[in-house]
Amino acid sequence: MNQILSNLELLKIAPLINLELLVNGLLVGSIFALIAYGMALVWGVMDIINVAQGAFVILGGYAAFYFINFASNLFPAASPIIWVILSIPIAAAAVALFSYLVFASVISRILNRDLFVSLLATFGIELVLQQLMNQVFTAEDRIIDSGLATISMFQYQVNIPGSRLLGAGLGIATAIVIVLIMRYSRFGQAIRATSQNARAAGIMGIDTNKIYALTFALNGAICGVAGSIVAFVFIIHPFQGVIYTLRSFAIVILAGLGNIAAVILAGLGLAIYENFAGFIFGPQLQNAFVFLIVPVVLLIRMYIMRRQRKYLE
């Protein structure tokens, strides 16, 4: 309790800490928002909750890690930042291909089943993938050095790692590309039509099965991008996927489906909330605050709907 009060006091005495927490929250949050957007896309269009989301991200991280290792050995003179940037499309393609295989083998068979089935099936996939990565890539922490320095301001009171800045920038750029695809391409229009009314879309001549496959692969690409960002901003480890799954989950619950602006806001908001909660209540409680927000938010929504005699379903 005293610790909590003194942490609060610290925020008051040194207001710049607030700024640091806020900026770091925004940067980290934009990466989470990207992953969550992929989850919301699959959830909204296909009615599938992809628990393997985090494992896909980690897989993307490994793809980027091995590509950069390989390429920088080949051309040791080049600046690492080039390889970091180049690793993004490579990881995106690799995970998109993998996602397509998962779709063809498993997801396509559970499309019309209960959402609960998708939770279990993708949990099984997550388990398989994480254990396979553990066997193949070992449990060693992997990290990519982007070569960017930490930017310090206000006499070292506000420190922002350059890699985070780059990661957030790349995340935002990816999000913009996806929004453009969703809004203006035929593929994006077909996805939106299918998510609104799959039967009507089918009657209008849209091959909904193909749309589902492409949506799932697009989510894979998003995870690949996020994974290569995570590889140089945080670390890559076979069992770390669950962090990203659960955070995306919380973000999607907060934001609802199908609205990218809401997903981005929720992603940023959650990261800021989590950073402050971690600072005030101690890092050991940071995760508890993230996960508890899901039942709390759902309970509040339930009580509001109850007044209209409706149910949260």
Binding site: I49, V106, R109, I110, R113, D114, L115, F116, V117, L119, L120, A121, F123, G124, I125, E126, L127, V128, L129, Q131, L132, Q135, V242, L246, F249, A250, I253, G282, Q284, L285, N287, A288, F291, L292, V294, P295, L298, L299, M302, R306, Y311, L312, E313
Partner: protein, 344 residues
């Protein structure tokens, strides 16, 4: 299923379980795990299979039950919980219980755990069971995950480094006790459920699964039925958790107490494997699952979790009706064939 054949089969299985410790004295930990699995599969299916409320969060009661028993053993052994947990680093030697202290602590603890979790289940259920469908599943999942994180931050129960159970004193046949206590509740719970599913209470649980709005619009007391069923299941989960923790002799917040990636998924997998919504399904599912699991751990060591993940995917995607479902379908087909034959 109420023929003399099933009665005899039930009797044979019961006798087998009663003598199993003598047949397989070297597999007591697997056998006591099996009893725990049967309990949680039955308790999960009561909600998921019979009432249509698929929950991931029952590990909440499982873990709380475990912590209560461990604490009860420490406190009734005459020690201070805070001293015990803070000293667990190396000098476990100074916290020695006599056999009677140990057994009293265990007995009182398991009773307390079950009863406290029953009421906790009523309390939580009355709110969260107002959610429907996948929102309920998601919320319970989040609660299960959050429980582990919260437990990690409570120093008096060992926080992130977990909590050891007091060492069972020499001469206490721990696994035999755990096994027979598990078996006792399995038998009682089985009898209870066989009866419950034939009462109006059980009927209304089925009605909630098939169409809850309809049941409510007929004036049936759906809310209190749901909370009560959830509380009964919480009672069993706490009991099972108490046994499981005692068997592992150590509580890790996320690996043992609130293991949403193992027990939290296995309970569902066992029910699906055996056949959801049947009384024998979860029992058969638990037995088959335990055999699979032990085979994986023995013959596929290193790859056992990969195999387990594949098993989950295969069962959920390809065999959602489970063993009892396949059996009932086979019986139905045979009856149809028989009637067709009788007609010609």
């Amino acid at each position: 299923m109420r023929t003399w054949q099933t009665n005899i089969a039930t009797l044979v299985i019961l006798v087998f379980f009663l003598v199993a410790p003598f047949l397989f004295p070297n597999n007591m930990s697997q056998l006591s795990d099996l009893m725990i699995f049967i309990l949680i599969a039955l308790a999960w299916d009561m909600l998921g299979g019979q009432m249509g409320y698929n929950s991931f969060g029952n590990v909440l009661f499982f873990g709380i039950g475990m912590y209560i028993v461990a604490s009860s053993e420490v406190i009734l052994g005459g020690f201070k919980l805070a001293e015990y947990t803070s000293a667990m680093g190396g000098n476990q030697g100074s916290f020695i219980l006599t056999p009677s202290q140990y057994l009293i602590g265990f007995g009182v603890g398991i009773a307390l755990a079950s009863i406290i979790n029953f009421f906790l289940g009523l309390l939580i259920g009355s709110q969260f069971l107002q959610m429907r469908g996948h929102y309920f599943a998601i919320t319970t999942l989040a609660i299960g995950v959050a429980a582990a994180e919260v437990a990690r931050s409570i120093p008096i129960i060992g926080a992130g480094s977990g909590m050891n159970f007091p060492q069972p004193p020499d001469g206490v046949p721990l696994f035999h006790i755990l096994y027979y206590m598990g078996l006792a509740l399995v038998v009682l719970f089985f009898i209870f459920l066989s009866w419950l599913y034939k009462t109006r209470f059980g009927f209304i649980m089925n009605a909630i699964r098939d169409d809850e709005d309809k049941a409510e619009s007929m004036g049936l007391p759906t809310a209190s039925i749901k909370s009560t069923a959830w509380a009964i299941s919480a009672f069993v989960f706490a009991y099972a958790g108490a046994l499981y923790g005692s068997a592992k002799n150590f509580i890790d917040p996320s690996e043992v107490a609130f293991p949403f990636t193992t027990i939290g998924v296995w309970m569902i997998l066992m029910a699906i494997m055996g056949g959801m919504g049947t009384i024998w399904g979860p029992i058969i599912g638990a037995i088959v699952f335990q055999i699979f699991k032990e085979l994986f751990w023995t013959y596929l060591f290193g790859w056992q979790r990969v195999a387990l993940g594949l098993l989950i995917v295969i069962i959920v995607v390809f065999f959602p009706d489970g063993i009892m479902g396949a059996f009932n379908n086979w019986k139905k087909r045979r009856n149809l064939q028989n009637t067709a034959k009788a007609k010609t």
